[in-house]
Amino acid sequence: MGVEGKTYPAVTSVIDRERVAAFARAIGADPSEGVPPTFAAVYSLGATAPLLFGDPEAAVDFAKLLHADQEFEWDRHPKPGETVTSQGRVISDISRRGMRFLTFETHTTGEDGSSVCRSRALFVIRS
């Protein structure tokens, strides 16, 4: 039901060195260690979730949205300066007891098409 199965357009982004360094400092990681694993919140989840949130068909009330859980799985971590492509898809869209549960998966690939990361987010929207 809802927008279950809906796939959003792929989004291409560059892993920006300065942003990676600022992100590493904000989470207390060593910026010299490369791209922090959860920078996937930017290049994978962050690149694609706005398409879901801005989709009139999905009708997500952002003010009532909770990020309930999150998983990232990596085949490898991207390098600073690399171009990656991320595509988001709604895996499930279930309403139960006045709450809506949206599972949103994003697959990120490198320029050669090889798999980089999968992000799975559960969003709960209170009514």
Binding site: A26, P37, T38, A41, V42, F62, L66, D69, Q70
Partner: protein, 118 residues
């Protein structure tokens, strides 16, 4: 491989820095009046900021950020500025870590958290 642990006292500066670096400008993390208008006690830290710190601790236990292959957590509690959270990673078998994040009142802020590494 040993575990790793880090105690972090959150500040509005750190939350602002994460908002800028991540591009997540949801006003519940920046604007206290807005946060209160949607039923929160005030601004709260991003769940992904909490998870980022947890992943950094997991990476330390795994012997390097490049070795992490999976991380999962459930966001169970709000973290406000001035809260102190203890993030920990413990070995749970070959290539597996059990992760915890507990605030100064002993309440878990993330639950069912785990990671895998190469």
């Amino acid at each position: 491989m040993k575990g790793a642990q880090r105690e972090v006292t959150f500040s509005t500066d750190q939350i602002d820095a994460y908002a800028e670096a991540s591009g997540d400008h949801n006003p519940i993390h920046r604007d206290g009046d807005f946060a209160r208008s949607v039923g929160l006690p005030g601004v709260i830290a991003h769940g992904m900021l909490q998870m980022g710190i947890l992943a950094a601790v997991a990476a330390e236990a795994a012997g390097g950020a490049g070795r992490l292959r999976r991380i999962y957590c459930r966001f169970a509690g709000m973290v406000e500025p001035r809260d102190t959270v203890t993030f920990a990673a413990e070995e749970a078998g070959p290539g597996k870590l059990t992760l915890t994040a507990v605030n100064q009142r002993g309440e878990p802020v993330m639950t069912k958290a785990s990671a895998e590494y190469l």
